[in-house]
Amino acid sequence: MKTLLDCHKACKVRIVKLNTEGDLKQRLISFGIMKEAEVEVLEHAPAKSTIEVKVGKMRIALRGEEAKLIEVEKI
């Protein structure tokens, strides 16, 4: 199983599943991070503590721990 955290910089993936519930899931969805959405990894902060991704035209910052909950596949 590959997660968003495993992705390298500039890699493009499609989201398969969000392995989370409740508030965080709603939060992700409201940012457009949902099943079938295509995501590009833009930047990693030092030690991958936070990552910046692009969904559609929006840039979103995520914590590494949260990126780990997002299951992805290569396009």
Binding site: D23, K25, K35, A45, P46, S49, T50, G56, A61, E66
Partner: protein
């Protein structure tokens, strides 16, 4: 609230009340600012401390009231702001919704639009930033879009003010025409389930202000309020199994076990469809956008943080260097003003109260307006350009180690300006524990009001070319201490799950002058209001405590001595002795003497102890109190050389270091304490904060005093 609105717009017949909604960073505030002849009302949403901006204006024979609702990505209740918007849209009374949409990011923005369309309300869509979209080669067919989704769509630009009039016209037209059915259609499987629930509601003639379709969608989406309403109805018994069945079907269809996720997918599909129909992008450029280019430098894994630190350092240098220029003039003005007013008052006691108490006290506060304005401009620029979220991105890893959230950075930095807006901006943290933790350490970020004390002491003990660096060091060590305190609190009082970190990194924008001016003005006014109320009051109290009780015998004995004395210098020396002796036997002196043993381990004399206690009211009072206590009269500021000299003569270097440490850590001021209590939600937190900061301040000052004593 409705009574207030009625007063503002007495003619109800032609009164249109508009709810302005949009996702964050779509230029909503700018759009509302670009309406000409508009009056801005800033207040609070009832019950919560979220800013509510209302704009009133007249157009033709209509009176408009536009309520600017906080930005929200979708109908979620994640933050207080989102909750306010959601509740307002569902429960409040308004005529029409203007949905502001960022034309350069249509599909994402339609997420909120499509949810608005499912409510049975009149909606007009403002396609904002249309000029920017055109530059990016994006073409939106507004007429076709209006036809597809069944609501008017108007291209506008808040920057060039294009289309504003057309938008108002469209609102009026929509207001005057009856509601039409929205054209938002879900997938077949969902529509089937909706139809079934609608059919059931129709059969039982269920009474509702909303359309049956709307009720059905709300039920399927699991809207708590709709559930609560239907739960007490007799039809619930039969409706419930139908709903369970319907949810199962939809979930099955979407291969998901979460109905909300399924609906989000439904909306996303609709938005994709609309965007594909109405939007044409000339050429898909793979070239990096400007924002991406800037980001590749500013959030660079290695250079990002040094660049940020450089920006902050420059901001403090500017605050110190430029802010000091107008200070002399302000000081001169207040001296002149005090003398002029004093000349008109015959009674000596009242004159002293007004001139030495009120005018001098308030003057000491106004003195820092230039510094504070520069700091606020800096912070407004950080926020307005979008750099603030980059900093949160860069620092989250670091902050997280101390149990804080990347977004805690925003209230913490604001804390360098003034603790009051800082406490208020902590609302962006949703998790209560994270917010409380941030609130507790905001006071470690030295606010602008502590600057005068620092300036006074650095001036007394360091060369002037070192002052800026020492000042920076004081601020940095305060911040580091705050982080350590956060870690300790996180491991003890605030243990628990962390708040997730998911935030938008908006496009870089140059904020308009008007917007910066507006924020800086409101914040500065807030500071000045504090000067006029709390600080004037505290100055009067300190004046009273330091002047009473009068000891006439003491005065007489000195007066005879002064008469006998030879030469001006000797007379002046005796006068100083008199005022010092008078102070010592005043109420303030008694308090200081009483608390002296408590502060003795820190190397403070009774004068410093009094100044610190007076500083609980406001930090600005510390300097004026020191001035009074070192027998120089009340009208002193940190620039008066005489006070600097008096301080360097009377206070030892280790005591001064300990004094700065206490100032750095203990409670900011009375007004901030009130705001803190309100934001934290309970008075008990204030007592925790008071105990926490006092103990830390005492312990740290004790260590600082003894270490400096050893080194010196």
């Amino acid at each position: 609230m409705s009574t207030v609105d009625a007063k503002a717009c007495p003619i109800i017949a032609n009164h249109i009340k508009v709810a302005l909604v949009g996702q964050p960073n779509v230029g909503k505030s700018m759009l509302i600012n670009s309406v000409s002849n508009a009056h801005l009302h800033v207040g609070n949403f009832s019950g919560v401390t979220v800013d509510k901006t209302e704009v009133l204006f007249d157009y033709k024979e209509y009176h408009f009231t536009v309520v600017d609702l906080p930005g929200t990505y979708a109908f979620t209740d994640y933050t207080i702001e989102e909750r306010v918007t959601h509740e307002y849209l569902c429960a409040e009374d308004y005529d029409i919704i203007i949905n502001v949409v960022d034309s350069t990011n249509l599909e994402k923005n339609l997420q909120l639009t499509s949810e608005l369309l499912t409510m049975s309300k009149k909606v007009v869509i403002a396609l904002n930033m249309s000029d920017e979209a055109e530059k990016e080669g994006i073409q939106i067919d507004a007429e076709y879009m209006a036809e597809l989704i069944g609501v008017p769509c108007v291209k506008v630009s808040a920057v060039t003010k294009e289309g504003i009039e057309e938008l108002i016209e469209a609102v009026i037209l929509k207001y005057e025409t009856p509601k039409n059915k929205p054209k938002l259609v879900f997938s077949e499987s969902v529509e089937e389930e909706i139809a079934q629930i609608v059919w059931y509601l129709e059969k039982h003639k269920f009474s509702s202000t909303n359309s049956y379709r709307n009720v059905a969608i709300n039920l399927l989406k699991g809207n708590k309020k709709t559930y609560a309403k239907l739960h007490d109805e007799p039809i619930w018994v039969e409706l419930q199994p139908i709903l369970i069945e319907a949810s199962k079907h939809i979930e099955l269809h979407h291969d998901s076990d979460d109905i909300k996720e399924s609906f989000a997918e439904e909306y996303a599909a609709f938005n994709r469809g609309i965007t594909a129909e109405v939007l044409k992008q000339k050429k898909i450029e793979e070239k990096k956008t400007l924002t991406e280019k800037i980001d590749s430098i500013l959030i660079h894994p290695i250079f990002g943080i040094p660049i940020f630190l450089f920006f902050m350092w420059s901001l403090f240098q500017l605050t110190f260097k430029i802010g000091n220029i107008p200070m002399d003039y302000i000081d001169m003005f207040f001296t002149w003003f005090g003398n002029t007013v004093g000349a008109t008052i015959a009674n000596e006691d009242i004159r002293s109260l007004i001139v030495d108490g009120v005018i001098a006290g308030v003057g000491a506060v106004v003195l820092f307006v230039p510094n504070i304005i520069i700091l606020f401009i800096g912070i407004a620029l950080l926020e307005g350009t979008g750099y603030m979220s980059r900093v949160a991105f860069l620092l989250d890893g670091f902050f997280h180690k101390f149990g804080l959230h990347g977004q805690s950075f925003i209230p913490l930095v604001t804390g360098f300006g003034c603790s009051i807006p800082a406490y208020m901006s902590a609302r962006i943290l949703k998790n209560d524990r994270d917010r409380l933790l941030t609130l507790f350490i905001i006071s470690f970020m030295s606010c602008g009001a502590r600057l005068p004390v620092y300036v006074l002491f650095t001036g007394a003990f360091f060369a002037s070319n070192m002052a800026g660096n020492i000042l920076f060091a004081i601020y940095v060590s305060g911040a580091l201490l705050g982080l350590l305190a956060a870690k300790v609190l996180k491991l003890t009082a605030f243990r628990g799950k962390d708040e997730p970190f998911v935030m938008e990194m908006p496009k870089y924008r140059l904020p308009t002058f008007k917007l910066i001016w507006h924020t800086v003005l409101t914040k500065t006014m807030m500071y000045l209001k504090k000067a006029g109320t709390f600080i004037a009051g505290a100055s009067m109290l300190i004046w009273f405590l330091s002047n009473y009780p009068h000891n006439l015998e003491l005065k007489k004995s000195y007066e005879t001595k002064i008469e006998k004395a030879q030469g001006v210098a000797a007379k002046a020396a005796l006068e100083h002795q008199l005022s010092e002796a008078q102070l010592e036997q005043s109420y303030l002196g008694t308090i200081g003497k009483f608390s002296e043993p408590l502060f003795a381990p820190l190397g403070f004399d009774w004068k410093m102890s009094v100044a610190l206690q007076a500083g609980l009211a406001a930090k600005e009072v510390v300097v004026s109190t020191l001035g009074v206590l070192y027998a120089l009269g009340n009208d002193v500021d940190q620039d008066s050389n005489s006070l600097v000299v008096a301080i360097s003569k009377n206070i030892s270097f280790p005591s001064a270091v300990a004094f700065i440490v206490v100032i750095m850590i203990y409670l900011p001021c009375f007004a901030a304490s009130i705001v803190f209590t309100r934001e934290a939600g309970h008075i008990k937190y204030f007592f925790y904060l008071f105990a926490f900061t006092s103990i830390v301040a005492y312990v740290m000052a004790f260590i600082a005093y003894n270490v400096t004593l050893l080194l010196a």
